[in-house]
Subunit: 250 residues, 2 copies
DNA sequence: CGATTGCTTGACGTGCGTCAAGAGCGGTGG
DNA sequence: CCACCGCTCTTGACGCACGTCAAGCAATCG
């Protein structure tokens, strides 16, 4: 894009002041207007069913865009809630769409963003549809890790912005299960975890758990590698590691 | 769109002759070029993990568009396979994108399509993340039903285009479980099922199973709102009923 | 026609949800 | 400073839903 175009786009963007934990960016069933870009902090998107229980659709870390899934509707299909001290940019979608007509690069970029969201959501589906609890938790950890790597932050040591309960809701697991899995990974020496602070001690092993058929489950001390996993993250946290689909295996 | 524009778009579309069961529209890891529109028949999208097991990402019925999730990549992230005698249209994406620059309606339509795909995939995630096997199967049945309703076909009696095994793979269930659930629904008089032919005998009851907390033994106002024509199916079968998230309940 | 594939049904084992009871930890107020 | 609260997180005991294994028909096919 040329400077003029960049100015045009920038003119649309509004920076939203620091949000505090629990504060909402938008609420389910309120009129759709914008999507949002995370500058710092973290956001979760949540839907509440008529039954009253809530489900977390995704976590968004710095660099991620959220709110796109609602653009074909009048109102948001989920709420977005800050997980911690967070600052974001507002992107008024209709105006962005309008502007995209004259800026091909912008149009392409929007397509690209949405396409990533689709691929990402599909990966999550795959992860959920038949992986063990351990695999899901590991996938989440590796995903946050990958996100940090992309942001040039330490991929091996970081703080999880979300609670155990959030993780559970996102991964389709009970809080207790999440807690047990993390504890178990800790005992096995694969990670360190204190509260929300994580250290990945053996990232290669963790990746293996995702990619390798767990015939020999967790024999402590086996050393052979499979293949140093790559092709990992797709987009944001919401971009889960290529949901390696444990398939029918268990 | 005016006649000229419609002609421009039509010029891009290529009709692909009848495919037979098992035939591929495109294959995972081959270069991305187009997305596709289902005219008649049915298509499934499938990814194969490095481990070799396959997972079904979605089913696409007449009127649905598939292949969008790969547009931000060089190659397709999944394979698309005909489930039965099927005819489709090819939509070369790059050219479509190009054309969209001069036809705002087209651009908007593309955004709309992609947004639906996102919402749809999110719904599937929600469905998978914590619903019982029965709820998942019912959701699939109701979804196909809804699709038929929209196509002005009988929503109460239809043929499932996919095998039990496909259903299982899609829903994250073992084939046996799918079979058992269908059998159980049959015994309860909620559906008739012979092979792949389904009759929904008590659609209202089926919907209830999805939305109502199974504490109370049914028999509340049988007729059900879902806001007709809203939020129900999003796109094709892949548009699952607003995955009512049984939440922590079980 | 055997052979392959799809579907069903039974028996059995287990992963993980549920219930219940603490254990930190931070915040608030006296 | 401690007492008290409301959280989040952990840990154990128990049971059920669903995966796995296995066997047996029906339908399609080469």
């Amino acid at each position: 894009m040329n400077p003029g175009q960049i100015r045009d786009v920038s003119a649309l963007v509004r920076s939203l002041g620091p949000l505090t934990r629990g504060q909402r960016v938008f609420s389910q069933n309120t009129p759709f207007s914008s999507c949002y870009f995370v500058k710092t902090g973290a956001v979760k998107t949540v839907t509440v069913s008529e039954r009253g229980d809530e489900r977390i659709l995704g976590f968004y870390l710095p660099g991620d865009v959220f709110g796109l899934s609602s653009m074909n509707r009048r109102s948001y299909s989920c709420s977005a809630i800050a997980l911690e001290h967070t600052s974001i940019c507002e992107l008024p979608f209709r105006q962005l769409e309008q502007l995209a007509r004259s800026i091909p690069e912008l149009q392409h970029h929007l397509f690209d963003l949405m396409s990533r969201e689709i691929a990402n959501a599909e990966n999550i589906s795959m992860l959920l549809s038949s992986n063990t609890a351990e695999e899901r938790v590991i996938a989440l950890l590796l995903n946050v890790s990958e996100h940090h790597r992309q942001r040039k932050l330490s991929p091996l040591q970081f703080r999880l912005p979300m609670s155990r309960s959030d993780m559970g809701s996102f991964l389709g697991l009970a809080v207790e299960t999440v807690s047990r899995i993390l504890g178990s990974l800790h005992k096995q020496g694969l990670i360190n975890i204190t509260g929300r602070t994580v250290v990945l001690l053996q990232p290669a092993r963790l990746s293996q758990r995702l990619a390798v058929d767990p015939d020999a489950p967790a024999t402590k001390g086996d050393d052979f590698c499979w293949s140093p996993g790559h092709s990992h993250t797709v987009a944001g946290v919401s971009g889960m590691p290529a949901a390696n689909t444990s398939g029918t295996a268990r």
